[in-house]
């Protein structure tokens, strides 16, 4: 059920991931605004047909939403406008996947997770990493109501508790259990090629994998 107290969802990027999240958010009753690097008018037809119910807006307007989802190719992250996104809760769904997308120095030279690198560029945003470890096909197929015995879980990582609470509620409304992995750096446990990234897990199994991953980090 949509209410006017619901956060407005802004999505940057209209590719396969951005449009799948948009449709799932609309299904959950959210108001959704979508923007790309192109003027809003150029995306009007696309949004009407591919994500009916959403509205095509300029990037600055999508960035002004209560919850902003960044779903552009990671190597374009420097095109994000930190001023537009200052103070916002930003979900980073992007991945660095060199075998598929190629090798980029920004992520090779820096040992941190890609979300920490993105958060540093944005500066004043409250970045939460999640939705990067579910396929865009799966996002619209695997959703289950809360309490369902086979409900899939998704991890989230971030440094701001209030931002994570907002994102956890969003994940729940999309049809998934949200499992807090800890600070933004803990997102390493569900980056590409990890067991969490490549598999599908329920909350208990996901928590166990996250505990295992943090144990490894502590031991390292």
């Amino acid at each position: 059920m949509s209410t006017h107290n619901d956060p407005i969802i802004g999505i940057l990027g209209a590719g396969r991931v951005g449009t799948a999240i948009a449709r799932q958010a609309i299904k959950a009753g959210y108001r959704v605004r979508i923007a790309t690097a192109q003027p809003a008018a150029d995306n009007a037809l696309l949004v009407d047909i591919v994500t009916p119910g959403a509205i095509a807006v300029e990037a600055s307007e999508a960035a002004a939403a209560d919850l902003v989802i960044v779903a552009i190719p990671l190597h374009k992250y420097r095109t994000l406008n930190p001023d537009d996104l200052a103070g916002r809760v930003v979900i980073d769904v992007m991945n660095y996947w060199a075998p598929v997308d190629g090798v980029f120095d920004d992520f090779e030279r820096d040992a941190r997770t890609t979300s920490e690198i993105v958060a540093e560029l944005l500066g004043q945003s409250r970045v939460v990493k999640t939705l990067n470890h579910i396929g865009y096909h799966e996002l619209e197929d695997d959703d289950k109501p809360a309490g369902h015995a086979e409900r899939r879980a998704l991890a989230l990582a971030g440094d701001d508790a209030a931002a994570k609470a907002l994102v956890a509620e969003f994940i729940d409304r999309l049809g998934y259990d949200a499992v807090d992995a800890g600070p933004l750096a803990a997102g390493r446990a569900f980056q590409p090629a990890t067991e969490i990234f490549t598999g599908s897990h329920q909350a208990a199994g996901l928590r166990a994998l996250l505990r295992g991953a943090s144990g490894l980090t502590a031991a390292a």
Partner: protein, 347 residues
């Protein structure tokens, strides 16, 4: 409805799992195209891929050879990775093949490629990915649309052409140039705005979900004033046809495992599971692996959603035995196509 096949080349494996020669794979591919022409397949798409397991790196060369050895079949790239190639050379190679074919059978499909191996291979910077693709596609279209050999084009991704001759011209003045996409909405809209035919590569999920994208493509074309026969959709999927569904499923499986093991090693995937293969071989999923009735019915069902005019299949990967590829091509041409036409006529 045109029925076709496509291949990136398929290097055979020795019993110990090591690769046989890439030369053999190219010869097998050439033989498969000649066979496809003989049995009456409508279309064959080639490459472009640059790996030992899939070595069809030079679609223009294979298509020129096949143009001389075939009489009816349409031949095209699937796709030419235009961002890291020289559009002048691509156009010249395909126009040359067109001359050899007699004209009207040679097509270019321009794509970004599903992987980025051509960037280090040809010395391009991935940060220029979008700009290279946009400019080189623009040049390819300028060459194709030119009324004469003498072409002028200005850009930065490649030296400009100040009134230079680009030869030969295609027999019929132009070649069909398609845009390939894995199904992003902005790519669909862009192809429509350009008024170019669109080839969807659907390698997973449920193909009928591409319906809104095909609709977006057609409406974008209409909005930009493009109508007529150039506004059309083709679909490329995995597929293999055998006399029975059971045989088709078993024939494709070992190659699917080999492909996924190789990709998994590169991309960090877990070991491929038979269950996830089997989950994709039945309607409404993406692997068109079955007997002629099954595959024909699924093509027609997808046609209800996408209105596509060509459906072409890749069955040869991970070391599919050549005789299974050839039998699948025969069945596509002689059993699947008549069924598809019957079903479409009965609608």
């Amino acid at each position: 409805m045109e029925i076709g096949a496509y291949s990136f080349g398929d290097t055979q494996l020795n019993p110990d799992g090591s690769s046989r020669s890439t030369t053999e794979a190219i010869k097998n591919l050439f033989d498969a195209i000649v066979h496809a022409d003989k049995v009456g397949l409508d279309y064959f798409g080639v490459g472009e891929h640059h790996t030992v397991s899939m070595p069809a790196s030079s679609p223009g060369a294979i298509i020129a050879a096949a143009a001389a050895a075939t009489t009816r079949i349409k031949l095209g790239s699937a796709a030419s990775i235009i961002g890291t190639d020289d559009p002048v050379r691509v156009f010249q190679q395909f126009a040359t093949a067109d001359a050899i074919s007699g004209g009207g059978r040679i097509e270019i499909t321009a794509g970004r490629g599903s992987s980025v191996e051509t960037f280090p291979l040809f010395g391009y910077d991935l940060n220029d990915y979008d700009e290279l693709y946009a400019q080189k596609l623009d040049l390819l279209l300028a060459l194709n649309n030119s009324a004469t050999e003498n072409v002028t084009w200005t850009g930065t991704a490649r030296p400009s052409l100040p009134q230079l001759d680009v030869v030969p011209r295609p027999v019929q003045g132009q070649l069909p140039i398609w845009i390939a996409t894995g199904g992003s909405a902005p790519s669909s809209a862009r192809a429509g705005r350009l008024g170019l035919p669109l080839a969807y590569a659907i390698i997973g999920g449920q193909p009928h979900r591409f319906a809104p994208l095909a609709n977006l493509y057609r409406q974008s074309a209409a909005q930009a004033g493009h109508t007529g026969e150039n506004i059309k959709v083709s679909v490329a999927t995995f597929g293999l046809v055998a006399p029975t569904k059971k045989e088709a499923v078993e024939r494709m499986y070992p190659g699917w495992v080999n492909l996924n093991v190789e990709m998994g090693r590169l991309r960090g995937w877990p070991a491929p599971q038979r269950a996830s293969y089997l989950a994709q071989v039945d309607a409404p999923n993406a692997y068109y692996i079955g007997d002629p009735d099954d595959v024909a019915e699924r093509i027609v069902d997808l046609h209800r959603h996408l209105g596509h005019m060509r459906h072409f299949f890749q069955g040869d990967h991970g070391g599919l035995p050549q005789e299974h590829l050839l039998e699948s091509i025969t069945l596509l041409a002689t059993e699947v196509k008549p069924r598809v036409e019957r079903l479409l006529a009965a609608k």
